[in-house]
């Protein structure tokens, strides 16, 4: 049973546009919500993360929006660039144990 549901499966955006990826979780014990970026043939790498005590976190062009009551969180990529083309995974975990549950991934393609 997938504990984190991610959508869309893929998206194409023009350079300079906004990419939006959504995730929903079920376990109310989850207290950490990271996003990972994966380039082809490589392992995922942490991009940005948020805890449920804040509703938004921004790092450069990447922003996480978090809605605790709806059990949803999303990644916004502003001013998307071709170098942002990658697969993005949302994840979540409870405080204990430290297992991460991942979404199915979203392949983002930024066209120049």
């Amino acid at each position: 049973q997938q504990q984190v549901k991610q959508s869309p499966q893929s998206l194409i955006v023009q350079k300079g546009g906004i990419s939006i990826i959504n995730c929903a979780y079920e376990n109310t014990a989850f207290d950490y919500f990271p996003w990972y970026q994966q380039f082809p043939g490589k392992g995922p790498a942490l991009l940005i993360a948020i805890r449920p005590d804040v509703s938004e976190k921004k790092e450069g062009r990447f922003t996480i929006s978090f809605n605790k009551s709806a059990k949803q969180f999303s990644l916004h990529i502003m001013d998307s660039q071709p170098g942002d083309s990658a697969t993005y995974f949302c994840a979540s975990r409870p405080s204990k144990p430290s297992k991460l549950s991942f979404g199915a991934g979203t392949t983002v393609t930024v066209r120049a």
Partner: protein, 110 residues
């Protein structure tokens, strides 16, 4: 600094052959280690995790097994590979809140 090594990067194996993928970490002790599999177009499926030497937890029943012979070594094995074992295998080390992934092994069973 902490690093995680995983090899080989690619592997093509015939059906019925054995498998051994190795993962080692540096710069830490007693790490929590994980094996994930990423099938084409799908997310990361947790296969095994280990919180210490000889301690293995399996998340899903399957044709694979894992072992933790040393503190910083985690091995994924199979006695007889199936076609369905093909995929991208990732070793990960989760410290506090962050997961560090190896470069992955692309396994193709033919």
């Amino acid at each position: 600094s902490q690093t995680i090594h995983q090899w080989p990067a690619t592997l093509v194996q015939p059906v019925g052959s054995p498998l051994s993928l190795e993962c080692t970490v540096e710069g830490t002790s007693n790490p929590n280690l994980y094996w994930y599999r990423q099938a084409a177009g799908r997310g990361l499926q947790l296969l095994f995790y280990s919180v210490g030497i000889g301690q293995i937890s399996s998340e899903v029943p399957q044709n694979l097994s894992a072992s933790r012979p040393q503190d910083r070594q985690f091995i994924l094995s199979s006695k007889k590979l199936l076609l369905s074992d093909s995929g991208f295998y990732l070793c990960a080390w989760i410290m506090n809140t962050e997961a560090f992934f190896g470069q992955g092994t692309r396994l193709t069973v033919v």
